[in-house]
């Protein structure tokens, strides 16, 4: 009756998913009736509910906030909950777990190490006068806030780490997200813990492993530009270490 635009009507899309059951990996194909606005994550839920309850993936917020659902969709790491099926413009969608992480089951990868690296750079304010009984207000100017604000938006999704060539060949490399976090706190005017943080940042697993492939900035769903943070951080680190060495003389 009404004149419906065909692109709005939805169509069947094949999901080609890389599976892993603990021993062997294999591919499974499922047909998903995609509607306009439907996300890849919804497609995965549809498959889990309709065809195969054993399909495993991580997700929580469904709105790009928790960072659980990053996976490789058509060769690029993306958030499944923020990627619309029809916008991918292909009749077949290839879905794989993130690279550079150990696969536990299907699309679920092991994030223990990734979070441990985050923790290792001490991503919190360190102050000498910490007094939780009588907290004082820490004043900061808007410019000082804007200097680091963008880097606070990281949701620890691991997309950056999954494309980093240094992370690909060294398990212990801190990776883009952790170093962006280190930089974010280093340039926070309220922070006094730069020395402590630099300990990890300057180490063999820190800034010296980055050679500006800059792919992390390309794939980050929050556009926080980890590559930029690392370049600035490395400069900081070099100055820091040389100063330290000169002082000891």
């Amino acid at each position: 009756m009404e004149n419906k635009d065909k692109s709005n009507m939805g169509r069947d899309v094949i999901f080609r998913i890389k599976r892993f059951d603990g021993e062997k990996s294999y591919w499974s194909d499922f047909v998903v009736p995609a509607q306009k606005g439907m996300t890849v994550l919804e497609g995965l839920y549809y498959i889990k509910g309709t065809y195969d309850g054993s399909l495993s993936f991580r997700a929580s917020c469904r709105m790009g906030i928790c960072g659980s659902c990053a996976m490789k969709i058509n060769d690029k790491p993306r958030l499944a909950c923020e990627t619309q099926i029809l916008q991918l413009n292909s009749s077949k969608i290839k879905i794989e777990p993130l690279d550079n992480f150990r696969v536990l089951k299907d699309l679920i990868t092991d994030f223990e190490g990734f979070f441990a690296k985050h923790e290792a750079v001490k991503p919190y304010l360190i102050r000498k006068d910490d007094n939780y009984a009588e907290p004082v207000e820490l004043i900061q100017k808007p410019e000082e806030l804007h200097a680091y604000y963008d880097f606070t938006l990281c949701i620890k999704c691991g997309a950056c780490f999954s494309v980093c060539p240094a992370a690909a060949t060294r398990d212990d490399y801190l990776g883009p997200a952790a170093m962006a976090a280190a930089y974010r706190f280093n340039i926070d005017t309220r922070d006094e813990g730069r020395d402590e943080r630099m300990f990890m940042v300057c180490s063999d697993v820190g800034v010296w492993r980055c050679h500006f492939a800059a792919e992390c900035s390309e794939v980050c769903p929050k556009n926080i530009e980890p590559a930029k943070a690392i370049q600035k951080l490395r400069f900081q680190a070099a100055v820091h270490m040389i100063k330290k060495a000169l002082k000891r003389w």
Partner: protein, 124 residues
């Protein structure tokens, strides 16, 4: 091997491809440096031997290698200048135009140098 991941460029951007190429060209240049330095030892053996080396390597047949080597060198040089700029923390926000510009520069410099080499060795 894990190392092949450095060259896994499917789904990656031109930034990553540049990184892969920088690695490969760098390794080629290290090999060339070793060859070039060893070659110079022929100078010690006097004019005859040196000239015979030159006579075999500076020839039209070797021109194709020369031209490829120039490409490798020019690429590593221009891309390297781009990396130096960014690694000093500069011009990050215009990294995309700079990337395209660097590829354009590589092409222009390479064609120019190859043409000159051709004239030099084959002689027009």
């Amino acid at each position: 091997m894990d190392l092949l991941k450095w060259f896994e460029v499917r789904g990656k951007s031109l930034f990553y491809i540049s990184y892969s190429l920088h690695r490969i060209t760098g390794l080629i240049l290290v090999l060339y440096l070793v060859m070039h330095l060893s070659y110079l030892t022929s100078l010690r053996f006097g004019e005859e031997i040196y000239e015979s080396f030159i006579a075999t390597t500076v020839t039209p047949t070797f021109l194709i290698f020369d031209i490829l080597l120039v490409l490798v060198g020019v690429y590593h040089g221009v891309n390297g200048l781009r990396l130096i700029l960014h690694e000093f923390g500069l011009a990050y926000d215009v990294r995309r135009p700079i990337l395209y510009l660097s590829y354009f520069l590589v092409l222009v410099l390479w064609l120019y140098a190859s043409y000159k080499l051709y004239v030099f060795i084959v002689g027009v």
